[in-house]
Every structure is written in structure tokens, then in C-alpha cells.
């Protein structure tokens, strides 16, 4: 019990969570200044600027699902309840960043391609992935028993993550789209990034990454507090029954 209390006490001073929070608060306006200063893209003009948040958001989404997957494997091997907190943090943050990625992408697509949505392999993959993980959230919410909840979440997370490359592979039987490939790859419309644009992308990565880190820590702490609340409630009920 003592260790649990130590976790849940709000951190003061130079706790990692506070550092991340203030770094986020400062880095976002800076990233915005960089985005506004970066030059216009030759073809896409002003609309290209949303890309500086679109790409990091999608990377964070993938990172979250990776955290969920790793948490799932770890829970499966150890049956340790602390991994459940990691899993749910990854799951919920992943859905959040997927929604951000899809909304920013749709706004951009409206200007770049003239439609909010096309059935491009990447767009199809992301949309299926989001549906998969939203059903994961539904799965969690319909289980009462905490141990069973953790077990089912872990199994679903492992299956869902293994499924992602298969989804991507299967989308090649969809008509080809025009999603640009930024790094590597040989298909799609190339988007030329040069000099200052790379710097801007880096700054935005830092800003989004800091926000992500802060949210992850906050969600994990929320999970720990929830856990402790449950155990105290059970202890109280036990005392009443005596």
C-alpha cells in the first residue's frame, strides 16, 4: 500500500511530469512560429503547413499502439497488473492520436486532392486500425472483473497489432491513391522538404512528442490512482463486513 501512495501523490517541483508539462506549454508556441515562418510548398502552397503536425501525430499514434502491444506481451508473460495500466494508456492515446492524424489529414486532403477522403492504402490502413482499436476500447468497457479485463485487453492488443501489417498489405487490392511518401519509398507524390522545413518538422516533433510524453505519464498515473481507489474500496468493504 505504501508504494501505491507514493505513486499517486501529485508531483511537485521538478517531477518528470511537471517538466514535460511546462516544456509542452513552451514548445507549442515556438513550433507554431516555426510553422508560420517556413516557406510555402511549391505545389501545395499554404495548406502544406498542417503536415508539420500531421506526421508527428501519426507517428505518436503508431508509438502508442506499440506501447499497447508491448504491454500486452508483458502482461501475457508475467500476469502483472501494472502492465494493464500501460496497455490502457497506449490504447487510449493511440485512438486519440489516430483521430488527430485523420482529422489533420482530411483537412489537408481537401485542399491537396479536392476530397476529404480517398481509399488510398495508407488511409484505408489507418481507418481500419482505428476501428480495430476503438473496438478494443469497447471490449474493455464491457468487462467487470479487473483480471479478466487485463487478460482480454492483452490478447486483443497482440492480435490487433499483428494485424496492422496484414491490413496494410491487403490494401494493395484497393485502387492506388496519392498519399505522399515523405521518407523512403518509391511511389506516391513526392513532397520535397528542404533546409528550414526539416528544422520545422523537427521542432514540431519535439512539441508533439513532449505533449505525448506528458499525456502518457498522466494516463499511467490516472490508472494507478484508479487501481488504488479500487483496492481501498475493497479494503473498506472488507472492514464493514467484519
Amino acid at each position: 500500500m505504501a508504494t501505491a501512495i507514493k505513486y499517486t501523490r501529485p508531483t511537485k517541483g521538478l517531477g518528470l511530469s511537471n517538466v514535460l508539462f511546462w516544456a509542452t506549454v513552451f514548445s507549442w508556441p515556438i513550433s507554431l512560429i516555426f510553422v508560420l515562418m517556413a516557406g510555402d510548398d511549391v505545389n501545395l502552397k499554404y495548406s502544406q503547413r498542417i503536415f508539420y503536425y500531421h506526421l508527428p501525430a501519426n507517428i505518436m499514434c503508431f508509438l502508442s499502439f506499440m506501447i499497447y502491444f508491448i504491454g500486452g506481451i508483458a502482461y501475457w508473460r508475467t500476469r502483472n497488473r501494472k502492465w494493464d495500466i500501460v496497455m490502457v494508456a497506449g490504447l487510449e492515446l493511440g485512438v486519440f492520436w489516430a483521430v488527430i492524424g485523420i482529422i489533420t489529414g482530411a483537412i489537408w486532403a481537401r485542399y491537396a486532392w479536392g476530397a476529404f477522403w480517398t481509399w488510398d492504402p495508407r488511409l484505408t490502413t489507418v481507418s481500419i486500425m482505428m476501428v480495430v482499436y476503438i473496438s478494443g476500447v469497447m471490449l474493455r468497457s464491457s468487462v467487470e472483473d479487473p483480471t479478466r479485463k487485463a487478460a482480454l485487453t492483452a490478447a486483443f492488443g497482440i492480435i490487433g497489432f499483428v494485424n496492422v501489417p496484414l491490413v496494410y498489405f491487403s490494401t494493395r487490392w484497393f485502387p492506388k491513391g496519392e498519399h505522399p511518401i515523405i521518407f523512403g519509398g518509391d511511389s506516391g507524390t513526392p513532397v520535397g522538404l528542404e533546409g528550414f522545413m526539416f528544422l520545422t518538422l523537427g521542432v514540431c516533433f519535439v512539441a508533439v512528442g513532449l505533449l505525448f510524453g506528458w499525456m502518457l505519464l498522466a494516463r499511467i498515473r490516472l490508472g494507478q490512482m484508479h487501481e488504488e481507489l479500487q483496492s481501498r474500496r475493497m479494503a473498506l468493504e472488507g472492514m464493514e463486513n467484519e
Binding site: 481500419i128 480495430v132 464491457s142 467487470e144 482480454l152 490478447a155 492480435i159 491487403s170 487490392w173 484497393f174
Partner: protein, 227 residues
């Protein structure tokens, strides 16, 4: 190994015997897929006149009918056990949990394939469209195997949740989408008489999916059924 396979067979035989006596699952699946076919026919009246239009929609609708009736049977396969209280008995059996999974998966696969054998010609008659192509058999079998593998694991997961009947389709369809894409695509190619080379990629893909999702549930089944 022989011992393990005998246990798989015992679970499979138990399910088939129970089904032969009640015919609960099979009749529900068959009637549902029949109704689904009729609903498609009524919902798309204009599409049934032109053979070209039918060729565009029929393969996709066929897979919708397969998946929807399949999910119905998958749901029943564990809910029946749970409601009769026989799931605990099954899990207490002195067998590896993965043997129970494999037995259940095989019985679900059998019921699904039987329903598909019955419904496909009826589908062809209703849509006035030839469904006969020998190459369709591997496509349907591989696709259905994928359904049964993932579906049996998810049915075992969903049976212990509050919204069990609703939850299984939600989990199942989202994971099965790659197989549905590949299988519907291959079926379209076959029924419009495109050469076999056109569907080799899809067949390979579904086979890879089947192998991966045979191995994972065998490993994970223990985790989802433990109390």
C-alpha cells in the same frame, strides 16, 4: 502428439454430436444467410437486371452473407456452453487448453463451410449468376478458415463480457477486414473469369493470415479463458 490430436478430435466430435441432436446453430446460420441473401435481392432490385452489374456486387455480397452467418454461429458456439454451465466442465478437462481451442475451431469451421455449401448455389439462383468455378473452393475454404480461427478466439473472449452477442461482431469484423478485402477481390476475379495468376497473390495472403492467426490464438487461448 497422437494423444493431443485425440483430445482435439474429442472436443470436435462432442460439438458435432451436440449439433446433430439439436441442430440449433446450423439452422440459425442457414436461415440467417438465406434471409440475408433475400434482403440483398430486395435492397438492390435494379442491380439484378444487368449481368454486368450483378458481377460487380455479387461477390462482395456473398462474403457479407458468409461473415454475418458465420459470426452468428461463432457466438452460439460458446454462449450455449456458458448458459448450460458446460464451459467450466470443458475447461476442467484434462487436456491442454489449446486442444479445446482447436476442437472448437474445427467444429465452427465445419458448420460454416456446410452453410456456405448450401447458400452459394441459392445465392447464384437468386442473383441469376453462375457461382460455379472450381477455383472458388480454395478461396472460400482459406477465407473461412481465417474466420473460424479468429472467430473462435474472440467468441471465447466475448462470452465472458457484458455485451457478449454485440461485442463479437465488433471485434471480429474489424480484425477480419484484410481477409474480407482479399477474398472478395479474389472471388470477383474468379467469377469474371480472370486467369488464376490474378488471384495467386490473394490466396497466398489469406494463407499467411491463416497461419499467423492459427499460431497466435493457440498461444493466447489459455490467457483469455483462465479464471
Amino acid at each position: 502428439m497422437g494423444n493431443y490430436l485425440r483430445k482435439v478430435w474429442a472436443v470436435f466430435a462432442k460439438d458435432v454430436r451436440a449439433e446433430l441432436r439439436t441442430k440449433d446453430i446450423f439452422s440459425a446460420m442457414f436461415v440467417f444467410s438465406l434471409l440475408a441473401t433475400l434482403v440483398f435481392a430486395f435492397a438492390l432490385p435494379g442491380k439484378l437486371m444487368e449481368p454486368k452489374e450483378v458481377a460487380g456486387v455479387a461477390p462482395g455480397l456473398l462474403w457479407v452473407a458468409y461473415t454475418f452467418s458465420g459470426v452468428l454461429g461463432l457466438n452460439r458456439s460458446f454462449i450455449v456452453e456458458k448458459d448450460r454451465g458446460s464451459l467450466e466442465g470443458l475447461l476442467l478437462a484434462p487436456a491442454d487448453r489449446s486442444a479445446i481451442y482447436l476442437g472448437k475451431m474445427l467444429s465452427n469451421l465445419t458448420f460454416m463451410v456446410l452453410v456456405e455449401i448450401l447458400i452459394t448455389p441459392i445465392f447464384g439462383v437468386v442473383f441469376n449468376y453462375s457461382m460455379w468455378n472450381p477455383l472458388l473452393i480454395p478461396v472460400v475454404l482459406l477465407g473461412t478458415l481465417g474466420f473460424a480461427e479468429i472467430g473462435t478466439l474472440f467468441a471465447a473472449m466475448a462470452v465472458n463480457t457484458r455485451a457478449r452477442e454485440v461485442l463479437l461482431p465488433v471485434l471480429f469484423f474489424s480484425i477480419m477486414l484484410p481477409v474480407i478485402i482479399a477474398a472478395a477481390n479474389a472471388t470477383t476475379a474468379l467469377l469474371s473469369n480472370r486467369p488464376i495468376e490474378d488471384i495467386a497473390g490473394q490466396l497466398q495472403f489469406i494463407a499467411i493470415f491463416d497461419i499467423i492467426f492459427l499460431a497466435l490464438p493457440v498461444l493466447l487461448f489459455e490467457l483469455v479463458v483462465e479464471e
